[in-house]
Subunit: 210 residues, 2 copies
């Protein structure tokens, strides 16, 4: 029952192979146009095995979610004393952007990814569900800290809104054809704008139409 036996390595290799083959096909032809049976065949494996590793078809494409979730929760839960969740997440977003991480939203190499994502309703639905999971995870951390269930849920929701709005703003611009470097530079201000709204409120929003 060793964690690094031949068995375990083979499993991870198979999992990675399936994921790679699937992503390749999705980016070539789109999510809905590729069937699971086809992926299985292309990966030299049976359909059941695919579902063994990835419970839903959408997870074949959005398989980094678990890592992202864990990282975000860790940023909030393990923040230094005296640092608010807002400040911790704000810094984290800046760091992601600076390091060119795909999840910063503004990074090359991924226009294909966003095309696939945005052109499949099923994939978008799962994406939103994952955002909800992030909000729930934040809420859990805050409840443990404060004991206030409703306020925790609200704050978790507001923070998640900031993170996802920042992300999808960049994604939208890149899909619209904006230059990746320009988007990337301007994301710094976008991140601050988002977290400022959460931190200080929407006081100055125009009161009426016109």
């Amino acid at each position: 029952m060793a964690d690094h036996g031949l068995r375990e390595r083979k499993k991870q290799a198979t999992r990675q192979l399936i994921s790679n083959v699937a992503s390749g096909l999705f980016i070539q032809r789109g999510f809905e146009e590729v069937t699971v049976a086809e992926i299985a065949e292309a990966a030299g494996v049976s359909k059941m095995t695919v579902f063994n590793y990835f419970p839903r078809k959408e997870d074949l494409f959005l398989d980094r979610h678990a890592d992202r979730l864990a990282e975000l929760v860790s940023v909030v839960r393990s923040r230094p004393a005296g640092v608010s969740p807002i400040a911790a997440l704000r810094e984290h977003q800046h760091a992601l952007l600076a390091s060119g991480h795909p999840l910063s939203g503004a990074i090359a190499g991924g226009p294909g990814f966003w095309w696939v994502l945005s052109s499949s309703p099923a994939l978008m639905a799962r994406w939103y569900e994952q955002e909800r999971e992030i909000a729930d995870a934040f809420a859990e951390v805050f409840v443990a800290e404060t004991g206030d269930a409703f306020r925790s849920r609200m704050v978790a929701g507001l923070l998640t809104t900031a993170i996802t709005s920042v992300f999808s703003h960049a994604m939208g611009r890149i899909l619209a054809g904006d230059d990746v470097e320009v988007v990337r530079r301007e994301q710094v201000g976008v991140i601050d704008q988002a977290f400022n709204l959460v931190e200080h409120g929407v006081n100055d929003f125009p009161a009426a139409t016109g």
Copy 2:
């Protein structure tokens, strides 16, 4: 091509019949345990007809969404001059609660509804998708007013977070068995707490763990 011919009335009657039959079955036995074929048979109609009126199975249960969306958008778009979107929506939520509207979250007659909703992942996913549609609709209104795409999206997201958090808080309590009248009374404060957070920010959130 009259809007009120026999044809149109029959269509609406059929639609309502299917929806009623479906909701009844769902509440009796749960969403996943009822098949579309079964609903069709119970309504004396073919499976294709069901999908004619309701493109997805989930829409059979969540068929009030279009109305809810239109109402919320109208509240924001047609608010009186000098009233902020936050104030308009805050008042609207109070009004829904006072009038005993199901969408206020705290109303009797609907524990069955929430049980069905919360016990089906597919239904919850669609529910979240509808919340996203609300946020998108708000954003569209704000973009038309202000021209600032990112800020509009952010504010729309924050407001939607308030609305949905208020709702799901009530739903959670009622599902947990709390007395409906108690929940209802306390919702007034919950609504204000939610919109206060959006309006004035999360300044005073505890900075660190402990």
